[in-house]
Point group: C2
Chain length 504, copies 2
């Protein structure tokens, strides 16, 4: 096994399968620069079923070794990935800006977020609670029957398929949150790269690949594939060696993967982060004291990254009263002055235009932003409707991915918090939904259709739990017990003994 | 709302919908005494879609109040259910013995297990870690951007549908582990009773109902329905107000419910405990020192409760060597002398006979137990095969529900533990799989098809996690924060602050 870091000025167009560069033989795709309208070299030929098979076979083989590495080993491995990404940071940023059309400052921040979450999971591994260690000691003299010695820990599910997202070419892509949390859990990862940023994917894939080699891990711990969703993507999700799936993207693609996973002889969990309109509530107090100031702040959140965030504020419920007109005027002016910005792909731009068209026929247009002349230009849009229309028209409740939002004027909102808890995974006051902190308490997700599994989060340290399952060890000889549930707590973990947390 | 505890000598044959007894109008069923072959009064008419609708509507209404009760309130409620069950303990035992044909000692133990797990969840509620409280305090001066105040806790999913199991008329039925853990989580419960023990179900349902009334909880917190699986069961799982399902039973029924839940406009999790053959490994050391003693111990586990346990030892992998013949001889003699015992229902007895027939044609019969003359008699059966046949014949890997087991003689078993971890949810040494302790470290479940969701357990305190999801609170004003994530830790919980566990 040799390190495969390319001269980053010469991307190869090859996949990475268990440490080896492999050229596909299918459809050729090239990245597209949404800012210039130009295609970017090199061409990336799609892989096929045989590549899925090779990657999954290697992942299954690697799993036996990789899942048994220590928390410390995996922590160092994740940190090495972060360091390798930083070593080619400038190349990654340049390529990702070219492939996404996103501003350099945004991509720079995303690199920091990506390396930050790799290091967060290294911390989580060292802290050790992820093991879920529990011990119920034997009670030999219990009546009517003795209690056995019963212990529990979490183990990794198995190889995980990760689908890169178009809108976060780093933080939700090849070395993003799904990959970081799956690798932390002890699961080998097979990534299907997103067509929108193949060069960025190759660079980051090489950074992971070098970390695998450097840590002397089995080569199958990581693979990176290129291919179509309906063909290679479905082949990956239905491969019997894959035991879980992480996905961020559209609702239609997400539900397709969920259905494919459910129809397997052995169904597996799919963590699909899909769509949300992220309702924002403007209450009387805020409007009365700073209605005019809220307008530009709202539009800044709305148009950030051409509105291509899972957390884009697509719906504003505003309580009628003092300050609302000032907010509306300020928001209207800010949207009118918003420049057209490139969207990630021509397809996303087409879908955005179609969504805005639908809204135009069902709601009142307040204002459009500046028009652009490129194929991918996102022209911001602000609409208004009333509560009755919102409740009765499905089209007004549908996400439009991009810088479009719908404002609803209403008389009152009462007892909001208990209702919102049942609708959302994240409730925030005094701010806008864009900007998701990667920390211990974050939930990125929520009830369907925001995600396919509301019991989980794809952002934050709890994401590791998606790729674990508990195993119970009853009367297992002490010499065979994993150290996390051994007597005398050699790993100095927080454990639950007879139901009580302790570090003893 | 009035207490509805009937004179237990006069069961009513009615369902319980949100505190009110309701007579169904569908097919009449009666319990059947497998020991005597006689039907038991009264008749229970099936409910229909309208009853599902009424129960789910009341559950959804109750949810808003019930989910916001305190841990202490729910703990007292669970304890009241346990006390109410104990108050009619003798009636419950008499009826459950008659309906199941299981020995009185077994049913008596099951009552203790049922009340014990209700009280275990009361303890879990008071201990408080179930809240999953996390706080990442604001870092106002962080560069390049400040960190907001971010907190997290778990909330209840919503109304839960529970399906009673035939083989545990108490511990996995109306007030069993699914109901106890869902009620603990803050979820109202709608139970579909199993046809095999309607009278036991009515008695226990009344015990819950009285506890609901006594605690002044919304009547819709609990309902008990009778009806067919394909009609009422599917209507319950597909009701939009139901947010999760607990089921213990056959693989075919379980996978049907999973498919129905997945096809809903809003898919929901189904926790289906289905089938397992529970392989037992007899290693050289044990066989050499006590091969003959292991034979009767094995057969005692095999024939307990007519083999009607999820954990019945259906497959024995025995390493060839000293002591194996002594084991086989002792096991053969013990099976030959095993009396025929009644199975739960004629249908289960028919399936058992068919399963034994299939094994007879694919494996070598070692011995049968004593024959019985009733329609439901379970005649024990012991078969042998070789490793090659086991691996190649699907029929030999299929669960036969009842006192039948298959012994495989093999040359060696190496590195067993790492392999077993990937196949099972529970690994036990020096014992037999029957007898599942209800404690903090237990896992009842494991990879598909043992369960539909290997990330969970239906037995033990972790079962509560199945009915919870995390919610994140960002910059929420202190006056609106739930107490579990309030400053100064008013509930004295273990919480994760900046990723570190503390009670501060």
């Amino acid at each position: 096994m040799t390190a495969t870091m390319p001269d980053t000025s010469r991307l190869t167009g090859r996949m990475l399968i268990a440490g080896s560069p492999v050229r596909g033989s299918g459809t050729l795709i090239r990245a597209f620069n949404p800012s210039t309208g130009q295609e970017l070299e090199p061409a990336y030929p799609y892989g096929d079923q045989s590549h899925v098979d090779a990657a999954c076979s290697a992942a299954a083989e690697a799993f036996a070794v990789y899942r048994s590495t220590t928390s410390e080993q995996r922590g160092e491995f994740l940190e090495a990935i972060a360091a390798n990404i930083e070593a080619i940071r400038d190349d990654i940023i340049a390529r990702a800006v070219a492939e996404s059309g996103l501003p350099e400052a945004r991509i720079t921040g995303e690199v920091g977020r990506t390396t930050g979450q790799l290091r967060l999971f290294a911390e989580v591994l060292r802290e050790g609670s992820w093991n879920g260690a529990r011990i119920d000691p034997a009670v030999r003299d219990r009546k009517p029957s003795p209690r056995a010695d019963i212990r529990q820990r979490f183990i990794a599910l198995g190889p995980v398929a990760v689908f890169g997202a178009s809108n976060f070419p780093l933080a939700f892509s090849v070395a993003g949150g799904d990959t970081a949390s799956a690798l932390a859990a002890g699961c080998p990862v097979v990534v299907k790269a997103h067509d929108a940023h193949p060069g960025t994917s190759e660079l980051v894939g090489c950074a992971i690949n070098d970390a695998v080699a450097g840590a002397d891990l089995p080569a199958g711990t990581f693979s990176l594939l290129f291919g179509s969703g309906p063909d290679l993507g479905i082949a990956l999700v239905t491969d019997p060696r894959v035991k879980a799936v992480g996905f961020t993207g559209s609702r239609s693609a997400g539900t397709t993967l969920v259905a494919a996973a459910a129809s397997r002889p052995e169904p597996i969990p799919v963590y699909a982060e899909m769509s949300s309109i992220n309702p924002v509530f403007l209450l009387g107090g805020a409007l009365a004291t700073r209605g005019a100031d809220l307008g530009p702040a709202f539009v800044a959140s709305l148009t950030m990254g051409s509105g291509q965030f899972c957390t884009n504020p697509g719906l504003v419920i505003a309580v009628d009263g003092p300050g609302l007109d000032a907010f509306l005027t300020a928001a209207r002016d800010a949207v009118a002055q918003a420049p057209a910005t490139p969207m990630l792909t021509p397809g996303i731009a087409e879908n955005y235009a179609a969504g805005v068209n639908t809204l135009s026929s069902e709601a009142d247009l307040i204002v459009r932003g500046e028009a652009g002349d490129s194929q991918t230009a996102c022209r911001a849009a602000l609409f208004a409707t009333d509560a009755k229309s919102l409740l009765s028209l499905q089209s007004l409740q549908t996400e439009v991915f991009g810088s479009s939002s719908l404002i609803v004027r209403c008389d009152d909102v009462r007892r909001l918090l208990p209702l919102l808890e049942l609708k959302a995974g994240r409730i925030l006051f005094d701010g806008w939904p864009t900007g998701v902190e990667v920390c211990h308490a974050m939930v990125h997700g929520g009830p369907y259709p925001a995600t396919s599994d509301s019991r989980s989060t794809s952002v934050g340290s709890r994401a590791i739990e998606r790729f674990l399952r508990p195993v119970c060890y009853q009367n297992v000889p002490k010499t065979l017990l994993p150290s996390v549930i051994a007597d005398d707590n050699p790993d100095h973990l927080w454990r639950r003994i007879d139901g009580r947390l302790t570090q003893d």
